[in-house]
Structures are given as C-alpha cells and as structure tokens.
C-alpha cells in the first residue's frame, strides 16, 4: 500500500515537473499557442481565411472562462464516474473485493 502511494506521488510529481520546469527555466518565453503560430505562418504566406467562426467569445476573459468550463465539466464527470466505480466496487460481495497489493 505504501509503495503504491509512493508510485502515485512520483507520477504526479513527474507530470507537474514536465509542465513547471519550462516555466521555471524559460520564464521569458512567450508560450504562444501552437495553433495560433500555425495560423500566423499561413497568413504570412498571403492566405486569407474564407470563413469566420459562427460564434466567437467577445474577449480573452470570456474565452478562458469557457475553456475553464470545458475542463470543469470534464473533470466533474470524470470524478463522478470514478466515485461511482469505487462505490460499486466497495458494495460488491466480499469475494470480489479489490486487492490493493497490485
């Protein structure tokens, strides 16, 4: 059980490090989105997009809010499902109880 927790902690730390280290060591980089960079490169070659988005968030704040909403909905559903699965497992008959030594 303790070994299992250690592995979990190390995995979480590794994910955080992969994201945080670039920020720590290259804080001055712009971190522009790659999608935007690709669009800029295409427009540089003289191409003009021929269709506009049907709906576009009216400001950066509204846009990041909607992105946060997307992540929140996804995170909420994921948490609900994992909770349900765990509850179902706990309520199962004893011979089907989880074995935690994996």
């Amino acid at each position: 059980m303790t070994r299992r927790r250690l592995v979990t902690a190390l995995l979480v730390l590794a994910v955080l490090a992969l994201v945080a280290l670039p920020l720590a060591f290259r804080g001055d980089a712009g971190y522009a989105g790659t999608d935007g960079q690709a669009s800029a490169a295409i427009e540089e070659s003289g191409y003009t997009p021929w269709f506009e988005s049907v709906f576009a968030p009216s400001s950066k704040e509204v846009e990041s809010g909607l992105f946060a909403l997307q992540a929140a909905v996804g995170g909420g559903v994921l948490g609900y499902v994992l909770g349900r699965l765990r509850g179902r497992r706990r309520a199962a008959p004893p011979e089907r109880q989880p074995t935690d030594e994996t």
Binding site: P57, L82, R84, P98
Partner: protein, 227 residues
C-alpha cells in the same frame, strides 16, 4: 492541432470532411452498440469522453517556449477500441468550434481526422504492439496515450503542408515547417499525457477491475476467487 476556421482551402476542407465522416458514423454505431449490449459500460464510456474533454481544454507550456494541449484520446481507444473515440473526439471538437471559436466547422473534418481518427488508431496500434511484445497494461497505456497525442499533431502538420506547400521546397519543406511548430512542442506534453493515463488506469485497475477483464485488458482472476 486545431486548424482555425476558414484556414483550409475549400477542396481540402471538403476532402477531409468526406474522409472523416465514415469513421464518425461507424463510431456512433459502435457507441450505440456498446451501450445497448453492455449497459454497464456507460460509466467507463463517460470516463473516456470526460478524459478527452478535460485534457483538450488545458494548454500547457512546453520546453520550446510554446504552449499546446494534450488530446486524451488514447484512453478511450485502449478501453473500447478506436471507433468509439471517432465519435467522442468529434463531439469535443464540435463543442470547441461552436462555443470557443477554437477550430471550426469548415475545418472540423480535417481536425476530426487528426484528433479522433488517426490519434486513437495510432495509440491503439502502439498499445497492441506493446502488449504483444510482453508489456503490461500500464506501460501499454503509457505508449498508447503518448503516441495518440503525438500522432494527432503530426497529422495536423502534414494536413497543413498538403494545403500550403512551400513555394520553393514544396510539400516536404512545408511539412518540416509545420512539424517544427507542432511536433517538438508536443513531445514533453505527450509524455505528461502518458503519465496521466497511467494514473487513470491505476485507479481503474482497482475500481473497475471486472470491466477491464470483460473488455480484455486484464486477464480474469483465477476461478476459485470468483466463488
């Protein structure tokens, strides 16, 4: 990997839509069949969709000084095979095209082909190969998620190179240019996504063991334990 609205010439936009459509229709039928035949799969299907929904919303900084988002399509591909993700991935893209002005309706086909078709199949292929070579479930999940992520961005780069070949160096030159924008940035994010997938499946192997056994991801427990 979102090609912005209007950024593909019409013949390309139509071509990719035609290419992606049969996969999405087949995927929708696969989802309906899975839910009808195995109602107990609904929870895990929700988990697979939600995982993509979260990960594709979060833009992360990378060592190249750019930021990009993971895809999360490999998890569902490993659990339910890739066709299911063709539908779930396209739903995510449609949401982002309509509400976030991220991607677009004219580029939905091309984006779906990269995100919801090539990514899941590449991830699933890597998973099957890893398992065939004797790897366990978790290493298999790691390569599946990392490769699904990376393959999506490589596909986007090639789609753009096809539409906008370089004046001097043609398709190859443009491919190098767009891969330079997308692929390198994506490598650390793909690794991070692989690790997140391992975290998810570590939870699932305990909480959803019967489901993983039924889906063929884990060998069934010995008969005497079943009672």
């Amino acid at each position: 990997m979102h090609i912005a609205e209007g950024f593909l010439p019409a013949p390309h936009a139509i071509g990719w839509t035609v290419a992606a459509a049969p996969f999405v229709v087949h995927g929708a039928r696969a989802v309906v069949r899975e839910v009808r035949e195995h109602p107990e799969s609904t929870l895990l299907l929700g988990a697979a969709g939600a995982f993509t929904f979260v990960l594709s919303a979060i833009k992360l900084p990378s060592v190249t000084g750019s930021s990009s988002h993971p895809t999360g399509t490999g998890a569902g591909a490993v659990l339910f095979r890739p066709p299911v993700m063709a539908l779930l991935g396209t739903v995510v893209l449609l949401f982002q095209a309509l509400l976030l002005a991220h991607g677009g309706l004219t580029t939905l086909g091309a984006n779906a082909f990269a995100f919801a078709v090539v990514g899941p199949w590449a991830g699933y292929g890597a998973y099957r190969l890893a398992r065939a070579l004797g790897a366990g479930l978790l290493p298999g999940v790691f390569v599946a998620l990392a490769l699904a992520d990376l393959a999506t961005y490589v596909t986007t780069s090639l789609q753009l190179a096809l539409a906008f070949p370089d004046a001097a160096s043609g398709f190859a030159g443009a491919a190098v240019k767009f891969l330079g924008v997308f692929a390198l940035t994506q490598v650390p994010l793909a690794v991070a996504e692989g690790l997140l997938g391992v975290l998810l499946f570590r939870v699932l192997t305990v909480s959803a063991r019967p489901d993983l056994e039924r889906l063929g991801l884990l060998a069934p427990a010995p008969a005497e334990e079943r009672g």
